[in-house]
Symmetry: C2
Subunit: 132 residues, 2 copies
DNA sequence: AACATAAATAATAAAGTTTGTCAATAAGAA
DNA sequence: TTCTTATTGACAAACTTTATTATTTATGTT
């Protein structure tokens, strides 16, 4: 019995997400792969990103004032969003607080799979542009 | 010179968000106030929620697989999302980690205003429905 | 109280984001 | 190679949010 087929599209989409640190949206992944795959459809990009995120091969990140972003880097890290220009960065130097998940589980009876933390602020460049 | 006018709509929208713990979306706020204000328009709801969130009178929460939610409770707390049924809960028993904001500032030169943490998992009811 | 100004609204169009439909294609088993 | 059906491309539709504009109305001024 067939479970899941390996397609060129699937491989290219995954490799695009894993090969960048830009946290692309679905639309941006679509643009990224059109050189290599001009006939790919946006629906295929959405479908595969959704599946990859669901099985945990990539991360989905929900950000205020932005379509969902995708991240191929599964190592625990946080994200920082500039509320002025939308710049979106990784932050690696703070460990994932696993014990917080266990604490919430104990207190709420939810089974917690993960938490996502996004920091909101103003990036150095936008700070510079604040004249006075 | 006039800066900002107090309107009935603005007051009703704010009071709807502040008077519930359900973290309504814009559409849900719209439904909530239509009894009291049948002619209000959805655009007005969006406009006022955006403004209130921008000035910090209410919180905007970005959640995977949901339109943005709004929260009138400004006391520091976390949120938990059930990935099965979408149930969305508060969690108050973990203090806001202010020092993490200062740590990120020191390491990145961003000016951090806040961070939002959302926990994803399965709620007690949905756990029950997992037969076997 | 009446008037003037412009901020805010209702109505609606449009833009932006995501999912669904379905005939055609193609991955993988036999 | 042939068969089965998961996946795709094309496109429609749904969903979410913002923009446009004539009208209304909150508020300062007379």
């Amino acid at each position: 019995m067939i479970k899941e087929r390996q397609t060129k599209q699937k491989a290219v989409i995954l490799s695009a997400v894993q090969g960048t640190k830009t946290h692309p949206t679905a639309e941006q992944v679509y643009e990224m792969i059109r050189d290599e795959m001009p006939n790919v459809s946006l629906g295929t990009v959405y479908r595969n990103l959704n599946r990859l995120a669901e099985i945990g091969t990539i991360r989905r990140i929900s950000v205020i004032n932005s379509p969902d972003k995708f991240d191929g880097d599964l190592t625990p890290h946080h994200h920082i969003s500039c509320t002025q220009c939308g710049k979106f960065c990784d932050f690696f130097d703070a460990e994932y607080n696993e014990s917080l998940d266990r604490f919430i589980e104990a207190k709420t009876s939810f089974r917690i799979a993960k938490h996502e933390t996004v920091f909101y602020g103003v990036c150095p460049e936008c700070k510079c542009n604040e004249l006075n």
